[in-house]
């Protein structure tokens, strides 16, 4: 994979996620349901790149998402930490590596459905981490059930948006310089 292409696309999608995603948010009684653009890139790379690259890219994207999220704590403080999303994205990347040999990787619908699969893994990790943290340093207003519902809605929304955006993204495959499917297929489960 060409890392500079990945860096540019990650920069653009992260910029969109922190600014433009709110425009696309759907208000619900659980909070804003908004698409995850960085997840789209993680899944796109996760479906096509070499296993080792997938893990590094997932880690990098997870760290970036962690660093663009500051959590308000119940005691009035703030928390910016590297970990929950980084862990989640790495686990999500690993899940993708396990299932990608069973799907048509270049199909937009695959990107959408895999966003659901990887997204579930990521969100479960994030919710688990903050639920454990709630025992000794709770985030303001944290409720696991509420978060699981809101994040599930966001994932469905992201999958729909992701399916549509996967069409232009799949066209960028040659620019990313991914290895051929045969190559990644041979090493599908080893990283």
């Amino acid at each position: 994979m060409r890392w500079w292409v990945f860096a540019i696309v990650a920069y653009v999608l992260l910029g969109i996620e922190v600014s433009l995603a709110d425009l696309m948010a759907i208000e619900s009684k659980f909070g804003p349901v908004q698409p995850r653009f960085v997840l789209l890139l993680a899944v796109f790379v996760g479906l096509a790149a070499a296993p080792r690259v997938v893990m590094i890219a997932s880690l990098a994207l997870g760290i970036l998402v962690d660093l663009t999220t500051t959590w308000p704590l119940a005691d009035g403080g703030a928390l910016t930490l590297i970990g929950p999303c980084a862990l989640g994205y790495v686990i999500g990347g690993y899940v993708l590596l396990q299932v990608r040999s069973m799907v048509f990787r270049q199909h937009p619908l695959t990107v959408g459905s895999m966003m659901l699969v990887a997204g579930v893994a990521i969100e479960l990790i994030v919710v688990a981490v903050f639920t454990i943290r709630a025992w000794y340093e709770p985030v303001a207003g944290w409720s696991s059930t509420h978060e699981l519902v809101l994040r599930s809605l966001s994932l469905f929304y992201s999958a729909v948006i992701g399916t549509m955006l996967a069409v232009p993204l799949c066209a960028l495959t040659p620019v990313f310089g991914f290895p051929s499917l045969k190559q990644t297929g041979q090493r599908g489960r080893r990283w």
Binding site: Y11, V18, M55, T69, P72, G76, A78, T80, L81
Partner: protein, 298 residues
């Protein structure tokens, strides 16, 4: 004793273990977070700022003319009209902001300076519900300062980097705010004691605050304002923002559990998560002490 060979897999597993530990660190040990966050936001600023402008423009009531079967010149004329309307609206907004800031300045005397800041982003995870602004310690900001938009209370700074800061909104779940429930137009004779109308608001849902312990006899009705009256000692809101509007009462209903009380629902006057420009109220002593930053009182 020989160490096992360093493979990618082993290094990665160690990294995962480190991330797991890092995820569970208490905030006082996460000292690396704020500077790294500030760096990422600073790098993202050139990308996020124009996108935020687009977001603000699209959200405004300005509507582009419908293209299609109309003649090209007519389309162009409509577009220009819409553009002029949009610019006139922006001018009115700026004039209103200027007037509000002048009013604030007169009200607060010369003890405070105002730092107008642009919102450059929201947290990647919408559950966090924080806003990032484009000013930080270099502009004299520090954690705890109140953030307003005109006469509306927005929140306060919880994390300040060198060039960016994070705002915790008053609509953050779990937030408690003490307010006075007043008529929209305050009487000028100062005869009414609003301390009898104090209520404690609790955030219950997205953009909604509820007070469940308002005395049944307190004369409050839909349309009244909830104004900040929160001076509960250390950690309370600065004096400068006492009296600022937290929101408008949208519903008053009897408390089903306690017949002597009633429940008051308050909604902020504007969607705080979607603000594009806010004002940070900085005590002049803090601003002078920091020695940096541009701009002062309006």
């Amino acid at each position: 004793m020989a160490f096992p060979a360093m493979t990618f897999r082993r290094v990665f597993v160690v990294l995962l273990a480190a991330l797991s530990v890092s995820s569970l660190l208490k905030s006082k040990y996460c000292v690396y977070g704020p500077p790294l966050r500030n760096a990422v936001h600073t790098v993202l600023m050139p990308m996020a700022r124009p996108l935020n402008d687009i977001t603000s423009t699209v959200r405004s009531e300005h509507e582009r003319p419908v293209l299609g079967d109309l003649e090209q010149l007519s389309d162009e004329l409509r577009y220009k009209d819409a553009l002029i309307l949009s610019l006139q609206k922006r001018v009115r907004e700026l004039e209103a902001t200027s007037a509000e800031l002048q009013g604030l300045s007169q009200r607060l005397g010369q003890d405070y300076v105002f730092r107008e800041s642009r919102v450059i982003g929201r947290s990647s995870d919408p559950s966090a519900g924080t806003l990032t602004i484009d000013k930080g310690a270099s502009a004299g900001l520090s954690p705890g300062l109140a953030v307003v938009k005109g006469a509306d209370l927005v929140g306060r700074l919880i994390e300040v980097g060198s060039t960016t800061s994070i705002i915790r909104l008053i609509t953050t779940p779990g937030e408690l705010v003490e307010v006075a429930l007043t008529p929209p137009h305050l009487p000028t004779d100062q005869s009414t004691d609003f301390r009898q109308r104090v209520a404690q608001l609790r955030v219950t849902g997205p953009g909604e605050l509820i007070a469940e312990d308002v005395d049944r006899d307190v004369p409050v009705q839909a349309g009244d304002y909830a104004r900040l009256l929160d001076d509960r000692g250390p950690g309370s809101w600065p004096v400068a923002v006492q009296g600022m509007i937290v929101g408008q009462v949208t519903k008053v209903a009897p408390n089903p559990d306690q017949q002597l009380l009633k429940t008051v629902t308050v909604v902020p006057m504007r969607s705080l998560r979607r603000l594009d420009v806010v004002t940070v109220v900085v005590p002049r002593t803090v601003a002078a002490g920091s020695g940096g930053g541009q701009g002062g009182g309006p």
